[in-house]
């Protein structure tokens, strides 16, 4: 098994996710892109864990999953609340907290 392939896939997924966060306006899509980045790192964790024969990376991956699940709960709730009050899911519209 070649770890490099997995790592390359992980890097590709992370880049796609990061680009999505930066270029998309829709909050839901941004959110999905964030999930993509998280899972890309999970893949990297698991790959390294496998390569080194240690379980630490897998444990870390579980942590990330748990945190991501919690984050989804909070984040989606916020997005729904904003959508209800502003009738918009665009992250650029939610820009009141500024100078």
């Amino acid at each position: 098994m070649n770890t490099e392939h997995y790592l390359t896939l992980s890097a590709l997924l992370f880049t796609i996710g990061a680009t999505g966060v930066l270029v998309r306006r829709n909050a839901i899509v941004v959110f999905m892109s964030v999930e993509l980045m998280l899972n890309a790192t999970n893949l990297a964790f698991v790959s390294f864990s496998r390569a080194h024969g240690q379980l630490d990376g897998q444990v870390a991956a579980f942590f990330v999953m748990v945190v991501a699940a919690a984050e989804v709960v909070v984040g989606l709730a916020i997005i729904v609340a904003i959508f209800r009050s502003r009738r918009s899911a665009s992250v650029d519209d939610a820009s009141l907290l500024k100078y």
């Binding site: 990061a18 966060v21 930066l22 270029v23 306006r25 941004v30 992250v91 650029d92 939610a94 820009s95 009141l96 907290l97 500024k98 100078y99």
Partner: protein, 651 residues
């Protein structure tokens, strides 16, 4: 010796003044503290007690100084029975300050000099308290007035009984405070409020001299007690003595309204008349004379300072007399006269051992006759609805016979009519002045002539001539509570001269100021006395010819008058001088400093604030509120961090 001691050779101890060497109190003297404590208690009860003391406050206010007077009288008699060298007793009350090596004891010193002052203050003070019961009867703040009067008596007693210059300073400031409160007692009048402030500010200038003098004493001798300073003086240089003498003179000028700090006294007449009598005639304004005589051990070593005292006294006695000639306000005429008479005392005190006793003698007789005349003026004002303009008086002798008779006693005393107290005291001062220097003598003689002129003018315009009363004025005699003190003071004005019988006062003061040095005159004393009486008569004659019963006195002051009269009416331009020399340049300096503050200091601070504000205003524009731009920043930062890590690892 401290670093402040200036260079110069110490003088031989033979020329020094008399050192203060008191013995501890015993017997009745151990109650000395009570003399001060009684009026202090009165002031406390009246001022803290508030309105519940309104009904009996004035009675308590009178009782306290009377109690002090009786106590002081007993002590005075005790002191009379002692030997000369045993006549200084001191009582240490408590340790006032205790700072390392420097301690100040709060103590009282009862010696022939302070004994006379205590009797004058409590005696004349009591009479004026009694008079005030009637004078202030219709004032609904009478209780407060008595509280202030008691406060004044307390402070004045501290001033004359203290055995340390620092404690004298305490009393000095205390009488200043009481004077301020009482001049401004009717502060609802703008003129009274302004006069109180003026008195306070001018006195500050003099107080500066006093505090600097105390500092110099502590720096030079390590103490400011009379005992320490008088013992240390002979070892010190003449320069230190001169500086000390001049600083004390500055203090005396402020408190005693001597040129150049004379301007406040005339305005101080805004206070109730008993205040003018007690504070601004009989007691407080003589504190400067007390200070000079008490500090004889300083002045004896400082001939320059002594000459300065004489010149101040001489100038003031003439300036005050000239001002007194031009005033139509009876109280201001008397105030000018007070300045002038204190000028006589300063002149005598500056002459040295030949004059100390006579300065105090004149101070005592003046305390009687001037208090008498001020209270008489108050009685006249009482009769004429508080009118002070002498042009609205005239022919009051029938309407107020007791006031007239008592005022006449004061009048005869002040002009120096033979037999009256003022005759003896002024005669001795003029004689001593001639003995020192004929210029001093001629000045003092001239002053006596002018005194006779303006006092005769006051007398004639008030009690003689035509009735010039306002239509709604119905003059009447004052009640007995006011006339009784007048009668007592008039008696004092008449018989005060007995103090000089057999040179009693000179011998009495010997333990404090040393024996009198008598200078031989170029003419026999009796000739000089004749000359003085002739001068006085000339002054009276001139006044009679201009203001006598056969002359009509204009209802308003004539405006077409000589330059000299105009100058005298304007207080010889004392206020104008102060304004031109101190006030306007002071205001300009303040304006300049405010400008510097506005432009330079505020400018710098404001510019710094504007710089920070402007920069942050620009910088905060980075916070756009767009989540995606923050994300890009984070990504950029992360990439930078990774790049840096790689660069370090790979290199």
């Amino acid at each position: 010796m401290s670093p402040l001691a200036l260079s110069g050779t110490p003088l031989a101890s033979g020329e020094a003044g008399v050192p203060v060497v008191p013995t501890a109190v015993d017997g009745v003297f151990s109650l000395l503290w009570l003399v001060v404590a009684l009026p202090a208690l009165g002031a406390l009860v009246l001022l803290v007690g508030g309105r519940r003391t309104d009904r009996w406050g004035h009675l308590l206010g009178c009782a306290m100084p009377i109690g002090s007077f009786l106590l002081a009288l007993v002590m005075f008699v005790q002191l009379l029975g002692r030997d000369h060298e045993d006549r200084q007793v001191a009582q240490t009350l408590w340790t006032w300050l205790d700072v390392g090596d420097y301690t100040v004891q709060m103590g009282l010193l009862f010696d022939p000099l302070s004994a006379l002052f205590v009797l004058l203050i409590t005696g004349v003070g009591s009479l004026i308290h009694i008079y005030s019961v009637g004078y202030m009867a219709h004032d609904d703040r009478r209780r407060r007035f008595f509280g202030y009067l008691n406060l004044f008596v307390t402070a004045m007693l501290v001033l004359v009984l203290a055995d340390d210059y620092l404690a004298v300073f305490l009393g000095w400031e205390g009488v200043g405070l009481a004077s301020y409160l009482l001049i401004g007692f009717w502060a609802h009048k703008d003129s009274a409020a302004t006069a109180a402030n003026k008195a306070f500010v001018v006195n500050r200038v003099g107080d500066l001299g006093m505090s600097l003098a105390v500092m110099l004493m502590v720096a030079t001798f390590g103490t400011s007690s009379f005992v320490g300073v008088s013992a240390g003086m002979p070892e010190t240089s003449e320069a230190v003595a001169t500086v000390l003498g001049l600083l004390l003179l500055l203090a005396a000028c402020g408190k005693s309204a001597q040129v150049p700090l004379q301007s406040w006294l005339l305005d101080a007449m805004e206070g109730p008349t008993p205040v003018s009598a007690l504070i601004h005639a009989a007691t407080m304004v003589t504190a400067g004379v007390y200070l000079v005589v008490r500090s004889n051990f300083v002045y004896e070593l400082a001939p320059v300072a002594q000459t300065a005292v004489v010149i101040v006294g001489l100038v003031t006695l003439l300036v005050g007399a000239v001002i007194g000639c031009a005033k139509d306000d009876i109280k201001k005429a008397l105030a000018g006269s007070t300045m002038s008479q204190i000028g006589y005392m300063m002149l005598a005190a500056g002459i040295g051992p030949a004059g100390y006793a006579f300065a105090i003698f004149h101070l005592l007789t003046h305390g009687f006759f001037k208090a008498n005349m001020f209270l008489g003026a108050g009685s006249v004002m009482h009769a004429t609805n508080d009118d002070v303009d002498m042009r609205h008086y005239g022919a009051l002798r029938k309407a107020a016979p007791i006031t007239f008779a008592t005022f006449a006693f004061g009048y005869l005393a002040i002009i120096g009519f033979p037999g009256f107290s003022g005759f003896f005291s002024k005669d001795h001062i003029i004689e001593a002045a001639f003995g020192e220097n004929w210029v001093y003598g001629v000045g003092a003689l001239l002053g006596a002539g002018i005194t006779a002129f303006y006092m005769t003018r006051v007398m004639l315009m008030t009690f003689f001539g035509e009735r010039r009363w306002r239509p709604d004025v119905h003059p009447h005699e004052s009640p007995a509570v006011m006339t009784t003190p007048l009668v007592v003071l008039a008696a004092g004005s008449l018989v005060g001269g007995v103090l000089i019988l057999g040179d009693w006062i000179v011998e009495w003061l010997e333990p404090v100021v040393g024996p009198e040095e008598h200078h031989e005159l170029f003419v026999p004393a009796i000739v000089l006395t004749g000359l003085i009486v002739l001068t006085v008569l000339a002054g009276v004659a001139v006044a009679w010819s201009r203001y006598g019963p056969s002359q009509t006195i204009a209802d308003t002051a004539p405006t077409r008058v000589s330059a000299a009269t105009r100058a005298a009416r304007a207080d010889l331009y004392g206020d104008a001088l102060n304004e031109a020399v101190f006030m306007r340049p002071g205001q300009k300096l303040t304006a300049a400093l405010v400008y510097v503050d506005d432009v330079l200091i505020d400018g710098t601070v404001n510019a710094l604030a504007a710089l920070v504000g402007g920069t942050s205003g620009t910088a905060r524009r980075l916070q756009t509120g767009f989540v995606r731009s923050y994300a890009l920043t984070m990504l950029g930062g992360a990439l930078l961090a990774i790049a840096a890590t790689l660069a370090v690892t790979l290199s």
